[in-house]
Symmetry: C2
Subunit: 593 residues, 2 copies
């Protein structure tokens, strides 16, 4: 096996030229086999095997600097820079991070997982090189899907001002996670079909030199082209056409569903549900969101679903998208546009619902502040994955959302404790015309608790916490999907300590129910807050601050800010003192102080 | 005077065609005269007088929807939609907001002041129109300077997918606030010199129809062109060439310095210092920043100043920029790129310093989180204007910064109390290689207090609050530029109530000095915090939360979150209970409870 002996970029350079296609085949097989076992970004990685081999054949990493945008397509790169074990040794499958990670290798320059950053990073690397009087190559790879993000454009625009070496490789597989959206993609298609010769050329128009290579999965052609570009003295775009999912028929024919997958059967392509290989996947908040929104769209021509290239997170399958017509808009990877677009829709009487992962909503902080909230536009934002039980990669942590949204005026941020409450809030929000509303979709799997969403209590326009159980001495305020964890704390206080604690479902993640908090002091001496997010700027901090000038003692439980990577959520809870035992004991300790 | 009788768009339509140039002249004179008296965005407004008159001649606002990007160039629009008084009646000069404001008029569709939003807003307006089955025109105006912001590109890319009316007017005056930067601008220049006919065309490349008009200050030519575009059935870019500062020689020949000005002498163009017309402007934090950074640049080839189109806020005059050469980079209006670019520079051993207004840094929230902080890149961010004494327009409030940055791991956010401490922190930060550092440049004018920045205490790598005066019972923790306000509270506690309070300069705006806070409890029962920012997610909240499970009572003073507009800072303080008298009285009340 070539791959076991080709562990460094030097090894790639030492191979016979004729061996390169064989190496590519072995890498492809290893990626498939390891992904079948532990899941992964299958389709993106299969597409860039040849490009990656060619890069390490031609350039001299880490002296030459190679930056992969998003970096979820770095499996081949990792295999060739000392980390083949994670793809060929079944005992070590999944051991390396799924993203670039400087802690793993000097060939990974940045930790990253969000899109559209690589050109700006390349500009910085090139400028630093020039300041230091060095002369290495800087190569950045960016996928066509990532081009629609505004940051990428800012990078291209600035790259054109550089008067030194920068090679920007546009890896064009004609596919974002779902299909691409925007006029730019018509230009890419025209460039592909004209073999790069058509008059319209967005890269040339932005002042960049340009070259096209159709054979993006031909390693020898790539080597030859890169060899010619090596040491070029100005910025150039190399536009290569690759096939997403290359070499694995199921992924190549349905790259959207094969963008990122869990374990699957290599022979059939059938996906397996981890732990229960024979059962279908359980229903999710995505499913019920897609169903509820599709029904609303059918009922009301003003309802518009919006996604920034991730329709599946809100349950919008290709079928539901087609059925929704103009009432479902995929803006491509462009969260900023999504929020500003939703602002104008909402101000014009429409009822936009933008569904987005918490981690990607970060891109639109200013648009939330300056467009949506300043204009008090009654749009709905559904924040998915906002939980320590969401993605556990440091690059995609989504539990900073309360801290991020907490400073925005005018917005309600609702945190439902169960699916019934979530659907009730979503339904209310569609018809609410006063303020922007964001909903923190629970991150720990569907929980049915009809008792928490009484049918007569479906107005969320004033901040009112729901007292689920009235007690005394200690009050447990447990936000959103951590309500049940708080319930267990309250139960333990009774069972272990004989304390009948008050148990509250606060429902509002950033606003205080001041009357309720004022009334607490009469019969409570200790308040405990729980939230599925960081403490700094979070909800508990706000509660604690409000009570800090009263005799009530408050202890907040949440996650210390930081970038934990590939953590075990339950271990993270324990590290932050969030075991039921410890939280109950802390309440009792404070009570007895 | 035509202008006094032309108060609505209908009036513009009723004028004889030959009167239109006269109306333009009157509007220009009124803008100049009112701006000379009260200041304003002189150059941008002078450039679009003809365009605005033509828009209201041809289109039927508010049925047709007109959106001005940034909206600091809406003076002519305001004059023609019922608000001429604010430009022609000396008693009412400055009465209307300097930005679009829906509370003033139904012709102002959105409150806005940040750039690059108008195309996305136009897409939303057009989509809402199409959903409702209406047929009005949607017109968005965007300046060339705003084109470099990524959101604008996201908007253009999505606009190309629209299959209905949208007229995007690119108001090209070949000038951002300072000069333009990026490859895009070479294309705009080529388009201007070729009268729109050159092969390279960034708008066509993005899939948009395109038309060029060189005579952007010829009202009749504009009317004719817009008339042809009215009711067009698809998106089109109308690229018009205008002259920034048109009709006022000082502004036309130096549009950077005339972008926004205070009062000036109309005859000579000499700028007046408000209140002291005969004296030169006082020195500012911009001045000392420019001096300190220029010296560092001369000393150390790795220091790089970065601006996103606002070099003057960090004191970089055209002369200092020229002297810095490659060590000063203006990325254009592109805050996202600036942060990601700085990340790569810092990770490559360079020492980037990005100076930015707090309100514009919001654009880069995700890049701060995902690029800078996740990669722990030792860049420096100088946050200017972050104070209630900064810009008082609701669109540009810059005192949300602590709340915004407080959730970011790895970053130190320093809040100096005076100029000596600021310079000490800046100097330390340049050589600090561990973490990203942001510095909250004081917002209330240069304060010299050498006593607060002892020469032996210039290491800010560990969080340590500076106890300026040791007392007991009450501790006053007063952050950054509110230190002196806190000092006055402490002094009043002594003078009025005989309480020798402890007085602390905390220096760190988002991090807790836990040892110090733990030690407080021994001799203090009340802690008062002051900060020049919003309370929600702010610094005081963090302190209060930390102390909430101890017997110490904490009262936080800061600003309630909201969008106050054109407020008086001292009134805002009073509304938030931040008079010296009230803060001292509150401390005493809590002490006696």
């Amino acid at each position: 096996m070539l791959l076991t002996q080709t562990t460094t970029p030097e090894d790639v350079k030492a191979l016979d030229r004729a061996e390169l296609p064989l190496l590519c085949g072995e890498i492809r097989h290893a990626i498939l086999e390891s992904s079948a076992a532990v899941g992964g970004h299958v389709a993106p990685n299969l597409g860039v095997v040849e490009l990656t081999v060619a890069l390490h054949r031609v350039f001299n990493s880490p002296i030459d600097k190679i930056v992969f945008d998003v970096s979820h397509q770095t499996y081949a790169h990792k295999a060739l820079t000392g980390r083949a074990y994670t793809y060929i040794d079944p005992e070590r499958f999944g051991e390396a991070s799924g993203f670039a990670n400087p802690d793993e290798s000097e060939h990974d320059l940045f930790a990253m997982g969000h899109t559209s950053t690589s050109v700006s990073l390349g500009c910085g690397l090139a400028h630093a090189r020039d300041l230091a009087g060095d002369s290495y190559n800087v190569i950045t790879i960016i996928g066509d899907g990532s081009l629609s993000g505004g940051l990428a454009f800012e990078g291209f625009n600035n790259a054109a001002e550089l008067d030194s070496n920068l090679i920007i490789i546009v890896n064009d597989n004609d596919q974002s996670i779902a299909e691409n959206h925007g006029g730019l993609y018509r230009n890419l298609a025209e460039l592909r079909t004209s073999n790069g010769t058509c008059e319209r050329n967005v890269f040339r128009a932005m002042g960049l030199d340009y070259r096209y290579l159709d054979a993006g999965n031909d390693v020898l052609a790539l080597v030859d082209t890169l060899q010619e570009l090596r040491n070029i003295d100005h910025p150039i775009v190399l536009h290569v056409s690759t096939a997403k999912g290359k070499g694995f028929e199921p992924a190549q024919s349905d790259p959207e569903r094969w963008h990122h997958v869990g374990p699957f059967d290599m022979a059939t392509g059938r996906k397996l549900c981890p732990g229960h290989p024979s059962e279908p996947a359980p229903r999710t908040y995505a499913d019920i969101t897609g169903e509820a929104l599709s029904a609303a769209i059918e009922r009301d021509p003003q309802v518009v679903g919006i996604t920034a290239a991730t329709p599946y997170i809100m349950g919008f399958t290709p079928e539901l998208r087609a059925a929704a017509g103009k009432q479902f808009v995929d803006v491509g990877i462009a969260e900023e546009h999504a929020v500003t677009f939703a602002t104008a829709l909402a101000r014009s009487g429409a009822k936009p619902v933008f569904g987005v992962y918490g981690t990607f909503l970060q891109r639109a902080y200013d648009e939330l502040w300056h467009d949506l909230c300043l204009n008090d536009a009654p749009a709905t934002i559904l924040v998915f994955g906002a939980s320590i039980f969401g993605t556990t990669s440091e690059t995609h942590l989504s539990f900073f959302d309360i801290s991020m949204l907490g400073g925005l005026p005018n917005m309600h941020y609702l945190a439902p404790a169960c699916m019934e409450e979530y659907l009730s809030m979503l339904s209310w929000s569609l018809d609410h015309r006063e303020h922007p509303v964001a909903i923190r979709v629970p991150g720990i799997g569907l929980v049915s608790r009809p008792d928490l969403a009484p049918a007569e209590d479906t107005d969320y326009s004033t901040v009112r916490y729901n007292v689920v159980r009235q007690g005394r001495d200690v009050a447990v305020l447990a936000l959103g999907d951590f309500f049940e964890l708080g319930e267990r704390v309250a139960n333990r206080l009774t069972a272990e300590y004989g304390i009948e604690a008050t148990l509250v479902n606060p429902r509002f993640a950033t606003e205080l129910n001041r009357e309720f908090l004022d009334s607490l002091a009469a019969e409570h001496r200790v308040v405990v807050t729980l939230e599925d997010g960081i403490l700094d700027g979070g909800w508990g901090e706000r509660v604690a601050c409000y009570l800090a000038c009263t005799p009530v003692r408050t202890r907040t439980f949440g996650i210390a800010k930081g970038f934990p990577d590939r953590y075990d959520p339950n271990e993270l809870l324990a590290q932050n003192g969030m075991t039921v035992e410890n939280m109950a004991a802390e309440a009792v300790r404070l009570l007895n102080e």
